[in-house]
Protein backbone atom coordinates (compact mmCIF):
# COMPACT_ATOMS: atom_id res chain seq x y z
CA UNK A 1 0.00 0.00 0.00
CA UNK A 2 1.36 3.44 -0.87
CA UNK A 3 1.25 6.27 1.63
CA UNK A 4 -1.64 8.01 -0.10
CA UNK A 5 -3.59 4.76 -0.23
CA UNK A 6 -2.93 4.24 3.46
CA UNK A 7 -4.16 7.76 4.15
CA UNK A 8 -7.34 7.08 2.20
CA UNK A 9 -7.97 3.91 4.17
CA UNK A 10 -7.19 5.32 7.58
CA UNK A 11 -10.04 6.51 9.72
CA UNK A 12 -9.46 9.01 12.51
CA UNK A 13 -10.41 7.79 15.98
CA UNK A 14 -9.94 11.20 17.60
CA UNK A 15 -12.66 12.72 15.45
CA UNK A 16 -15.24 10.20 16.65
CA UNK A 17 -17.66 10.90 19.49
CA UNK A 18 -17.64 8.69 22.59
CA UNK A 19 -20.41 6.37 21.35
CA UNK A 20 -18.80 5.90 17.95
CA UNK A 21 -15.46 5.23 19.59
CA UNK A 22 -16.89 2.48 21.78
CA UNK A 23 -18.64 0.96 18.78
CA UNK A 24 -15.51 1.15 16.64
CA UNK A 25 -13.42 -0.78 19.16
CA UNK A 26 -15.85 -3.56 20.02
CA UNK A 27 -16.26 -6.57 17.72
CA UNK A 28 -18.67 -5.81 14.88
CA UNK A 29 -22.28 -6.18 15.93
CA UNK A 30 -21.48 -6.79 19.62
CA UNK A 31 -22.05 -3.23 20.93
CA UNK A 32 -24.85 -3.05 23.54
CA UNK A 33 -25.24 0.27 25.30
CA UNK A 34 -26.33 0.35 28.95
CA UNK A 35 -28.06 3.36 30.51
CA UNK A 36 -28.17 4.99 27.11
CA UNK A 37 -29.41 8.49 26.36
CA UNK A 38 -33.07 7.41 26.19
CA UNK A 39 -32.86 6.26 29.80
CA UNK A 40 -32.30 9.95 30.52
CA UNK A 41 -30.21 9.52 33.63
CA UNK A 42 -28.94 13.08 33.71
CA UNK A 43 -27.08 15.21 36.18
CA UNK A 44 -29.45 16.35 38.93
CA UNK A 45 -27.01 19.16 39.74
CA UNK A 46 -26.32 21.00 36.47
CA UNK A 47 -29.84 22.35 35.73
CA UNK A 48 -29.98 23.81 39.25
CA UNK A 49 -26.98 25.89 38.26
CA UNK A 50 -28.43 26.95 34.93
CA UNK A 51 -26.34 24.52 32.88
CA UNK A 52 -27.89 22.37 30.16
CA UNK A 53 -27.44 18.66 30.90
CA UNK A 54 -26.76 15.87 28.41
CA UNK A 55 -29.01 12.80 28.21
CA UNK A 56 -26.14 10.37 28.96
CA UNK A 57 -24.23 12.77 31.24
CA UNK A 58 -21.28 12.49 28.87
CA UNK A 59 -20.49 8.83 29.56
CA UNK A 60 -21.24 5.88 27.29
CA UNK A 61 -21.22 2.40 28.82
CA UNK A 62 -21.26 -0.49 26.37
CA UNK A 63 -21.00 -4.23 26.81
CA UNK A 64 -19.66 -6.26 23.94
CA UNK A 65 -16.84 -8.46 22.78
CA UNK A 66 -13.17 -7.80 22.08
CA UNK A 67 -11.73 -10.50 19.85
CA UNK A 68 -14.46 -12.72 21.26
CA UNK A 69 -13.83 -12.06 24.94
CA UNK A 70 -16.48 -10.39 27.10
CA UNK A 71 -15.74 -6.71 27.60
CA UNK A 72 -17.19 -3.50 28.90
CA UNK A 73 -16.20 -0.14 27.44
CA UNK A 74 -16.66 3.15 29.28
CA UNK A 75 -16.22 6.09 26.93
CA UNK A 76 -16.13 9.70 28.10
CA UNK A 77 -17.49 12.37 25.75
CA UNK A 78 -14.92 15.15 25.85
CA UNK A 79 -17.26 17.56 24.09
CA UNK A 80 -19.71 17.74 27.00
CA UNK A 81 -18.43 19.88 29.89
CA UNK A 82 -14.83 19.03 29.02
CA UNK A 83 -15.40 15.35 29.77
CA UNK A 84 -15.71 16.24 33.44
CA UNK A 85 -16.82 13.62 35.96
CA UNK A 86 -20.08 14.33 37.72
CA UNK A 87 -22.17 12.14 39.99
CA UNK A 88 -24.06 10.28 37.25
CA UNK A 89 -21.25 9.80 34.73
CA UNK A 90 -18.87 8.82 37.52
CA UNK A 91 -21.34 6.30 38.94
CA UNK A 92 -21.86 4.84 35.46
CA UNK A 93 -18.13 4.10 35.13
CA UNK A 94 -17.68 2.89 38.73
CA UNK A 95 -20.86 0.82 38.57
CA UNK A 96 -19.87 -0.82 35.27
CA UNK A 97 -16.44 -1.75 36.62
CA UNK A 98 -18.01 -3.11 39.82
CA UNK A 99 -20.34 -5.30 37.74
CA UNK A 100 -17.36 -6.51 35.70
CA UNK A 101 -15.72 -7.57 38.98
CA UNK A 102 -18.89 -9.50 39.86
CA UNK A 103 -18.86 -11.14 36.42
CA UNK A 104 -15.35 -12.38 37.11
CA UNK A 105 -16.35 -13.75 40.52
CA UNK A 106 -19.12 -15.62 38.72
CA UNK A 107 -16.75 -17.11 36.18
CA UNK A 108 -17.31 -14.61 33.34
CA UNK A 109 -13.90 -13.11 32.43
CA UNK A 110 -15.08 -9.58 31.56
CA UNK A 111 -12.28 -7.13 30.83
CA UNK A 112 -12.62 -3.34 30.61
CA UNK A 113 -11.56 -0.49 28.35
CA UNK A 114 -11.71 3.14 29.48
CA UNK A 115 -11.73 5.82 26.79
CA UNK A 116 -10.42 8.79 28.73
CA UNK A 117 -11.08 12.34 27.54
CA UNK A 118 -11.50 14.27 30.74
CA UNK A 119 -10.42 17.27 32.72
CA UNK A 120 -11.21 15.38 35.95
CA UNK A 121 -13.79 16.39 38.54
CA UNK A 122 -16.78 18.42 37.28
CA UNK A 123 -16.49 21.45 39.52
CA UNK A 124 -20.26 22.00 39.52
CA UNK A 125 -20.61 18.62 41.26
CA UNK A 126 -17.30 18.90 43.06
CA UNK A 127 -17.39 16.53 46.00
CA UNK A 128 -19.62 13.97 44.32
CA UNK A 129 -17.28 13.92 41.32
CA UNK A 130 -14.30 13.44 43.61
CA UNK A 131 -16.03 10.62 45.51
CA UNK A 132 -16.98 8.92 42.24
CA UNK A 133 -13.39 9.08 41.04
CA UNK A 134 -12.21 7.40 44.27
CA UNK A 135 -14.75 4.65 43.56
CA UNK A 136 -13.64 4.32 39.92
CA UNK A 137 -10.05 3.95 41.15
CA UNK A 138 -11.08 1.30 43.69
CA UNK A 139 -12.95 -0.65 41.00
CA UNK A 140 -10.08 -0.49 38.49
CA UNK A 141 -7.74 -1.98 41.09
CA UNK A 142 -10.20 -4.71 42.01
CA UNK A 143 -11.02 -5.67 38.42
CA UNK A 144 -7.37 -5.67 37.40
CA UNK A 145 -6.77 -8.65 39.71
CA UNK A 146 -9.03 -10.69 37.41
CA UNK A 147 -8.82 -9.20 33.91
CA UNK A 148 -7.00 -6.32 32.25
CA UNK A 149 -8.30 -2.76 32.42
CA UNK A 150 -6.92 -0.81 29.46
CA UNK A 151 -6.95 2.98 29.41
CA UNK A 152 -7.00 4.67 26.00
CA UNK A 153 -6.17 8.37 25.75
CA UNK A 154 -6.69 9.31 22.13
CA UNK A 155 -7.20 13.11 22.32
CA UNK A 156 -8.39 15.84 21.99
CA UNK A 157 -9.21 16.73 25.61
CA UNK A 158 -6.51 14.56 27.16
CA UNK A 159 -6.68 13.03 30.61
CA UNK A 160 -6.26 15.19 33.71
CA UNK A 161 -7.16 15.56 37.37
CA UNK A 162 -8.30 12.59 39.39
CA UNK A 163 -8.86 10.62 36.21
CA UNK A 164 -5.14 10.87 35.35
CA UNK A 165 -4.55 9.04 38.63
CA UNK A 166 -7.13 6.47 37.49
CA UNK A 167 -5.18 6.16 34.23
CA UNK A 168 -2.06 5.44 36.26
CA UNK A 169 -3.87 2.47 37.84
CA UNK A 170 -4.81 0.76 34.58
CA UNK A 171 -3.16 -2.51 33.53
CA UNK A 172 -2.11 -0.83 30.30
CA UNK A 173 -2.26 2.64 28.79
CA UNK A 174 -2.50 3.38 25.09
CA UNK A 175 -2.01 6.88 23.68
CA UNK A 176 -1.77 8.69 20.37
CA UNK A 177 0.22 11.77 19.37
CA UNK A 178 -2.91 13.81 20.10
CA UNK A 179 -3.06 12.65 23.73
CA UNK A 180 -1.97 14.52 26.83
CA UNK A 181 -1.69 12.96 30.26
CA UNK A 182 -1.05 14.94 33.44
CA UNK A 183 -2.44 15.60 36.90
CA UNK A 184 -2.96 19.35 36.63
CA UNK A 185 -4.19 21.30 33.65
CA UNK A 186 -1.82 23.98 32.30
CA UNK A 187 -4.02 26.93 33.30
CA UNK A 188 -4.39 25.76 36.87
CA UNK A 189 -0.63 25.32 37.23
CA UNK A 190 0.01 28.76 35.78
CA UNK A 191 -2.53 30.26 38.20
CA UNK A 192 -1.08 28.50 41.20
CA UNK A 193 2.62 28.68 40.40
CA UNK A 194 3.06 31.56 37.98
CA UNK A 195 3.85 31.86 34.31
CA UNK A 196 7.56 31.38 34.92
CA UNK A 197 6.82 27.90 36.25
CA UNK A 198 4.28 26.92 33.59
CA UNK A 199 3.24 29.01 30.60
CA UNK A 200 -0.17 27.63 29.67
CA UNK A 201 -0.02 29.28 26.25
CA UNK A 202 3.30 27.70 25.29
CA UNK A 203 1.85 24.69 23.54
CA UNK A 204 5.11 23.13 22.29
CA UNK A 205 6.48 23.26 25.86
CA UNK A 206 3.36 21.63 27.32
CA UNK A 207 3.21 18.93 24.67
CA UNK A 208 6.91 18.21 25.05
CA UNK A 209 6.34 17.34 28.73
CA UNK A 210 2.86 15.79 28.80
CA UNK A 211 2.11 14.68 25.22
CA UNK A 212 1.56 11.06 24.23
CA UNK A 213 4.92 10.68 22.53
CA UNK A 214 6.84 11.90 25.59
CA UNK A 215 4.82 9.77 28.01
CA UNK A 216 5.61 6.73 25.88
CA UNK A 217 9.29 7.58 25.51
CA UNK A 218 9.61 7.96 29.27
CA UNK A 219 7.85 4.68 30.03
CA UNK A 220 4.73 6.15 31.63
CA UNK A 221 2.43 4.54 29.06
CA UNK A 222 2.62 1.22 27.24
CA UNK A 223 1.71 1.87 23.63
CA UNK A 224 1.87 4.79 21.23
CA UNK A 225 -0.06 4.52 17.97
CA UNK A 226 -1.28 6.64 15.09
CA UNK A 227 -4.74 8.20 15.21
CA UNK A 228 -6.39 5.43 13.25
CA UNK A 229 -9.31 3.22 14.26
CA UNK A 230 -7.73 -0.02 13.05
CA UNK A 231 -4.31 0.76 14.54
CA UNK A 232 -5.85 1.56 17.92
CA UNK A 233 -8.06 -1.51 17.92
CA UNK A 234 -5.26 -3.89 16.98
CA UNK A 235 -2.92 -2.38 19.58
CA UNK A 236 -5.70 -2.64 22.17
CA UNK A 237 -6.15 -6.33 21.41
CA UNK A 238 -2.39 -6.86 21.68
CA UNK A 239 -2.31 -5.15 25.09
CA UNK A 240 -5.15 -7.34 26.38
CA UNK A 241 -2.86 -10.33 25.88
CA UNK A 242 0.29 -8.70 27.31
CA UNK A 243 1.56 -8.70 30.92
CA UNK A 244 1.00 -5.45 32.84
CA UNK A 245 3.91 -3.16 33.73
CA UNK A 246 2.23 -2.65 37.15
CA UNK A 247 3.56 0.89 37.25
CA UNK A 248 1.56 1.90 40.34
CA UNK A 249 3.35 -0.73 42.43
CA UNK A 250 6.85 0.46 41.55
CA UNK A 251 7.39 2.97 44.35
CA UNK A 252 10.86 1.64 45.10
CA UNK A 253 12.02 2.14 41.52
CA UNK A 254 10.54 5.62 41.22
CA UNK A 255 11.87 6.76 44.60
CA UNK A 256 15.36 5.65 43.56
CA UNK A 257 15.10 7.58 40.30
CA UNK A 258 13.78 10.73 41.99
CA UNK A 259 16.60 10.54 44.54
CA UNK A 260 19.08 10.95 41.68
CA UNK A 261 17.77 14.49 41.14
CA UNK A 262 19.49 15.78 44.27
CA UNK A 263 18.46 17.90 47.24
CA UNK A 264 17.11 20.77 45.20
CA UNK A 265 15.67 19.40 42.00
CA UNK A 266 16.30 21.64 38.99
CA UNK A 267 13.75 22.14 36.22
CA UNK A 268 13.92 19.31 33.70
CA UNK A 269 13.18 19.20 30.00
CA UNK A 270 11.68 16.28 28.11
CA UNK A 271 15.05 14.72 27.32
CA UNK A 272 16.11 14.78 30.98
CA UNK A 273 12.92 12.99 32.01
CA UNK A 274 13.42 10.34 29.33
CA UNK A 275 17.00 9.81 30.42
CA UNK A 276 15.99 9.49 34.08
CA UNK A 277 13.18 7.01 33.44
CA UNK A 278 14.85 4.91 30.76
CA UNK A 279 16.76 1.72 31.37
CA UNK A 280 15.96 -1.34 33.50
CA UNK A 281 12.32 -0.30 33.42
Amino acid sequence: MTDSERLLHSRSFVELGARQRARALLDTGSFRELLGPFDRLMSPWLPRQGIVPQADDGVVIAKGKLAGRPAVVAAIEGGFQGGSMGEVGGAKIAGALELAVEDNRNGIPTCAVLLLETGGVRLQEANLGLAAIAEIQAAIIELRAHQPVVGVIAGSVGCFGGMSIAAGLCSHLLVTREARLGLNGPQVIEQEAGIGEYDSRDRPFIWSLTGGEQRHASGLVDAYVADDVEAIRSQLLALLAAPSAQRASRHQWFLERLAQLGDDCPQLDAAAVRALYQGDA
Binding site: P44, E192, A193, L220
Partner: protein, 263 residues
Protein backbone atom coordinates in the same frame (compact mmCIF):
# COMPACT_ATOMS: atom_id res chain seq x y z
CA UNK B 1 2.09 23.90 62.38
CA UNK B 2 0.51 21.11 60.42
CA UNK B 3 -2.50 19.58 62.11
CA UNK B 4 -1.78 16.04 60.93
CA UNK B 5 1.66 16.22 62.53
CA UNK B 6 0.12 17.27 65.87
CA UNK B 7 -2.39 14.46 65.81
CA UNK B 8 0.27 11.96 64.72
CA UNK B 9 2.41 12.81 67.72
CA UNK B 10 -0.58 12.59 70.02
CA UNK B 11 -2.09 9.36 68.72
CA UNK B 12 1.08 7.35 68.18
CA UNK B 13 3.92 7.81 70.58
CA UNK B 14 7.22 6.90 69.02
CA UNK B 15 9.75 8.12 66.52
CA UNK B 16 8.84 8.33 62.85
CA UNK B 17 10.24 5.36 60.95
CA UNK B 18 13.37 5.96 58.86
CA UNK B 19 13.54 5.41 55.12
CA UNK B 20 10.80 7.80 54.04
CA UNK B 21 10.85 11.30 52.57
CA UNK B 22 10.89 13.89 55.39
CA UNK B 23 7.40 14.99 54.33
CA UNK B 24 5.94 11.53 54.93
CA UNK B 25 5.87 10.64 58.61
CA UNK B 26 5.13 7.07 59.55
CA UNK B 27 4.73 5.86 63.14
CA UNK B 28 3.70 2.40 64.28
CA UNK B 29 1.53 2.51 67.38
CA UNK B 30 -1.43 0.54 68.67
CA UNK B 31 -5.19 0.67 68.67
CA UNK B 32 -7.32 -1.70 70.72
CA UNK B 33 -4.24 -3.86 71.40
CA UNK B 34 -3.66 -4.18 67.70
CA UNK B 35 -0.69 -2.84 65.73
CA UNK B 36 -1.58 0.34 63.86
CA UNK B 37 0.40 2.37 61.32
CA UNK B 38 -0.26 6.12 61.45
CA UNK B 39 0.74 8.10 58.37
CA UNK B 40 0.85 11.87 57.84
CA UNK B 41 2.00 14.14 55.02
CA UNK B 42 3.68 17.17 56.60
CA UNK B 43 5.45 20.30 55.36
CA UNK B 44 9.19 20.02 54.71
CA UNK B 45 10.96 23.31 53.94
CA UNK B 46 13.89 21.36 52.51
CA UNK B 47 11.78 19.27 50.14
CA UNK B 48 13.88 18.71 46.97
CA UNK B 49 10.78 19.66 45.00
CA UNK B 50 10.18 23.34 45.56
CA UNK B 51 6.47 23.20 44.76
CA UNK B 52 5.83 20.64 47.52
CA UNK B 53 7.33 22.38 50.55
CA UNK B 54 4.18 23.40 52.40
CA UNK B 55 2.41 20.09 52.88
CA UNK B 56 1.28 19.42 49.31
CA UNK B 57 1.15 15.87 48.02
CA UNK B 58 3.75 15.72 45.28
CA UNK B 59 6.06 13.17 43.69
CA UNK B 60 7.94 12.10 46.82
CA UNK B 61 4.80 12.17 48.93
CA UNK B 62 2.82 10.00 46.50
CA UNK B 63 5.53 7.38 46.17
CA UNK B 64 6.45 7.72 49.86
CA UNK B 65 2.86 7.02 50.94
CA UNK B 66 2.86 4.05 48.59
CA UNK B 67 5.97 2.69 50.26
CA UNK B 68 4.64 3.30 53.79
CA UNK B 69 1.44 1.39 53.14
CA UNK B 70 2.84 -1.34 50.88
CA UNK B 71 5.56 -2.21 53.40
CA UNK B 72 2.93 -2.70 56.10
CA UNK B 73 0.96 -4.99 53.80
CA UNK B 74 4.10 -7.01 53.01
CA UNK B 75 5.11 -7.25 56.67
CA UNK B 76 1.67 -8.53 57.71
CA UNK B 77 1.17 -10.88 54.79
CA UNK B 78 1.05 -13.96 57.02
CA UNK B 79 -0.02 -12.39 60.30
CA UNK B 80 -2.61 -10.10 61.81
CA UNK B 81 -3.28 -7.17 59.51
CA UNK B 82 -2.38 -3.93 61.22
CA UNK B 83 -4.73 -0.97 61.15
CA UNK B 84 -3.71 1.80 58.77
CA UNK B 85 -4.68 5.36 59.73
CA UNK B 86 -4.19 8.22 57.27
CA UNK B 87 -4.02 11.53 59.17
CA UNK B 88 -5.22 14.07 56.68
CA UNK B 89 -4.34 17.74 56.47
CA UNK B 90 -3.35 18.18 52.84
CA UNK B 91 -3.91 21.61 51.25
CA UNK B 92 -3.54 20.35 47.67
CA UNK B 93 -1.53 18.29 45.27
CA UNK B 94 1.71 19.93 44.13
CA UNK B 95 1.30 22.22 41.12
CA UNK B 96 4.53 22.52 39.18
CA UNK B 97 6.55 21.86 36.07
CA UNK B 98 8.78 19.22 37.63
CA UNK B 99 5.73 17.45 38.94
CA UNK B 100 4.01 17.19 35.56
CA UNK B 101 7.22 16.33 33.75
CA UNK B 102 8.03 13.49 36.13
CA UNK B 103 4.50 12.09 36.21
CA UNK B 104 2.93 13.22 39.50
CA UNK B 105 -0.25 11.46 38.37
CA UNK B 106 1.63 8.18 38.51
CA UNK B 107 3.04 8.95 41.97
CA UNK B 108 -0.46 9.62 43.28
CA UNK B 109 -1.65 6.44 41.57
CA UNK B 110 1.05 4.63 43.54
CA UNK B 111 -0.43 5.90 46.80
CA UNK B 112 -4.01 5.07 45.76
CA UNK B 113 -2.85 1.60 44.73
CA UNK B 114 -1.15 0.93 48.07
CA UNK B 115 -4.09 2.07 50.22
CA UNK B 116 -6.56 0.09 48.10
CA UNK B 117 -4.39 -3.05 48.21
CA UNK B 118 -4.16 -2.73 52.00
CA UNK B 119 -7.93 -2.57 52.21
CA UNK B 120 -8.35 -5.54 49.86
CA UNK B 121 -5.79 -7.55 51.85
CA UNK B 122 -7.94 -7.14 54.97
CA UNK B 123 -6.29 -4.20 56.72
CA UNK B 124 -8.79 -1.85 58.33
CA UNK B 125 -7.94 1.48 56.66
CA UNK B 126 -9.27 4.69 58.19
CA UNK B 127 -8.97 8.26 56.98
CA UNK B 128 -8.96 10.80 59.81
CA UNK B 129 -9.70 14.28 58.51
CA UNK B 130 -8.13 16.81 60.85
CA UNK B 131 -7.64 19.66 58.36
CA UNK B 132 -7.88 20.17 54.62
CA UNK B 133 -8.58 17.22 52.34
CA UNK B 134 -8.30 18.66 48.89
CA UNK B 135 -8.75 17.07 45.51
CA UNK B 136 -5.93 14.87 44.21
CA UNK B 137 -4.15 15.08 47.55
CA UNK B 138 -7.14 13.49 49.29
CA UNK B 139 -7.54 10.86 46.55
CA UNK B 140 -3.92 9.83 47.23
CA UNK B 141 -4.05 10.09 51.01
CA UNK B 142 -7.19 8.75 52.61
CA UNK B 143 -9.99 8.43 50.06
CA UNK B 144 -9.41 4.69 49.64
CA UNK B 145 -10.15 4.05 53.33
CA UNK B 146 -13.12 1.88 54.35
CA UNK B 147 -14.15 4.57 56.85
CA UNK B 148 -13.66 8.34 56.97
CA UNK B 149 -13.81 10.20 60.29
CA UNK B 150 -13.80 13.99 60.36
CA UNK B 151 -13.28 16.46 63.17
CA UNK B 152 -16.28 18.75 63.36
CA UNK B 153 -14.27 21.93 62.93
CA UNK B 154 -14.35 24.83 60.50
CA UNK B 155 -10.75 24.09 59.49
CA UNK B 156 -11.75 20.68 58.15
CA UNK B 157 -12.67 20.93 54.51
CA UNK B 158 -13.11 18.50 51.65
CA UNK B 159 -13.17 19.84 48.13
CA UNK B 160 -12.10 19.41 44.53
CA UNK B 161 -10.63 22.89 44.26
CA UNK B 162 -10.09 25.97 46.44
CA UNK B 163 -12.73 28.69 46.20
CA UNK B 164 -10.72 31.27 44.30
CA UNK B 165 -9.44 28.82 41.69
CA UNK B 166 -12.85 27.16 41.29
CA UNK B 167 -14.45 30.54 40.69
CA UNK B 168 -11.91 31.39 37.98
CA UNK B 169 -12.25 28.04 36.22
CA UNK B 170 -16.08 28.09 36.22
CA UNK B 171 -16.12 31.76 35.16
CA UNK B 172 -17.95 32.96 38.28
CA UNK B 173 -17.22 35.46 40.99
CA UNK B 174 -16.31 34.08 44.40
CA UNK B 175 -19.59 35.57 45.69
CA UNK B 176 -21.61 33.76 43.00
CA UNK B 177 -19.75 30.56 43.75
CA UNK B 178 -20.54 30.88 47.45
CA UNK B 179 -24.21 31.57 46.73
CA UNK B 180 -24.43 28.48 44.52
CA UNK B 181 -22.51 26.37 46.99
CA UNK B 182 -25.05 27.23 49.65
CA UNK B 183 -27.78 25.63 47.51
CA UNK B 184 -25.85 22.74 45.97
CA UNK B 185 -24.51 20.35 48.63
CA UNK B 186 -21.72 18.73 46.58
CA UNK B 187 -20.30 22.18 45.79
CA UNK B 188 -20.39 23.44 49.36
CA UNK B 189 -17.23 23.97 51.37
CA UNK B 190 -18.68 23.27 54.83
CA UNK B 191 -18.46 19.93 56.57
CA UNK B 192 -22.21 19.68 57.21
CA UNK B 193 -22.93 19.70 53.48
CA UNK B 194 -20.16 17.17 52.90
CA UNK B 195 -21.67 14.92 55.58
CA UNK B 196 -25.03 15.04 53.75
CA UNK B 197 -23.37 13.21 50.84
CA UNK B 198 -22.97 10.15 53.07
CA UNK B 199 -19.22 9.83 52.66
CA UNK B 200 -18.35 10.21 56.35
CA UNK B 201 -18.60 7.47 58.93
CA UNK B 202 -18.49 9.88 61.89
CA UNK B 203 -18.12 13.54 62.73
CA UNK B 204 -16.43 14.29 66.03
CA UNK B 205 -16.56 17.53 68.00
CA UNK B 206 -13.25 18.17 69.77
CA UNK B 207 -11.94 20.98 71.98
CA UNK B 208 -8.89 21.75 69.90
CA UNK B 209 -8.61 20.48 66.35
CA UNK B 210 -5.30 22.27 65.89
CA UNK B 211 -3.48 20.93 68.93
CA UNK B 212 -5.49 18.13 70.54
CA UNK B 213 -5.99 17.88 74.29
CA UNK B 214 -5.63 14.58 76.14
CA UNK B 215 -9.39 14.28 76.12
CA UNK B 216 -9.55 14.95 72.37
CA UNK B 217 -6.99 12.22 71.78
CA UNK B 218 -8.89 9.75 73.94
CA UNK B 219 -12.10 10.53 72.13
CA UNK B 220 -10.54 10.12 68.69
CA UNK B 221 -8.84 6.87 69.70
CA UNK B 222 -12.21 5.53 70.83
CA UNK B 223 -13.72 6.56 67.52
CA UNK B 224 -10.92 4.89 65.56
CA UNK B 225 -11.45 1.68 67.54
CA UNK B 226 -15.16 1.86 66.86
CA UNK B 227 -14.44 2.28 63.14
CA UNK B 228 -12.12 -0.74 63.11
CA UNK B 229 -14.86 -2.85 64.68
CA UNK B 230 -17.42 -1.44 62.25
CA UNK B 231 -15.19 -2.36 59.31
CA UNK B 232 -14.98 -5.97 60.48
CA UNK B 233 -14.13 -8.14 57.48
CA UNK B 234 -15.37 -5.72 54.84
CA UNK B 235 -12.90 -4.60 52.22
CA UNK B 236 -14.98 -2.29 50.03
CA UNK B 237 -16.26 1.30 49.94
CA UNK B 238 -19.94 0.38 49.86
CA UNK B 239 -20.81 2.07 53.15
CA UNK B 240 -20.48 5.43 51.40
CA UNK B 241 -23.45 4.98 49.12
CA UNK B 242 -26.28 5.67 51.55
CA UNK B 243 -26.10 9.47 51.74
CA UNK B 244 -29.15 11.70 51.53
CA UNK B 245 -27.69 13.63 48.59
CA UNK B 246 -26.34 10.63 46.68
CA UNK B 247 -29.54 9.16 45.34
CA UNK B 248 -28.38 9.41 41.72
CA UNK B 249 -25.29 7.30 42.55
CA UNK B 250 -27.60 4.59 43.88
CA UNK B 251 -30.10 4.81 41.03
CA UNK B 252 -27.37 4.55 38.38
CA UNK B 253 -25.97 1.40 39.99
CA UNK B 254 -29.39 -0.17 40.43
CA UNK B 255 -30.52 0.41 36.85
CA UNK B 256 -27.12 -0.53 35.45
CA UNK B 257 -27.33 -3.83 37.29
CA UNK B 258 -30.73 -4.70 35.83
CA UNK B 259 -29.59 -3.85 32.28
CA UNK B 260 -26.24 -5.61 32.69
CA UNK B 261 -27.80 -9.07 32.87
CA UNK B 262 -29.89 -8.52 29.74
CA UNK B 263 -27.17 -7.05 27.54
Amino acid sequence: MNRAQNWLQGLASGEPLPGFPASVQVVDGELDNRLARFIAVVPDVHNPFARARTGEVGLLEGWGLAKAVAEAVDADRDGEKRVVVALIDVPSQAYGRREEALGIHQALAGAVEAYAQARLAGHPVIGLLVGKAMSGAFLAHGYQAQRLIALDDSGVMVHAMGKAAAARITLRSVEDLEALAAEVPPMAYDLGSYASLGLLHTRLAVDNAQAPTAQDLAQVRASLIDAVRDIGDTTDLRSRLDGEHRSASREVRQRLRSQWQEA
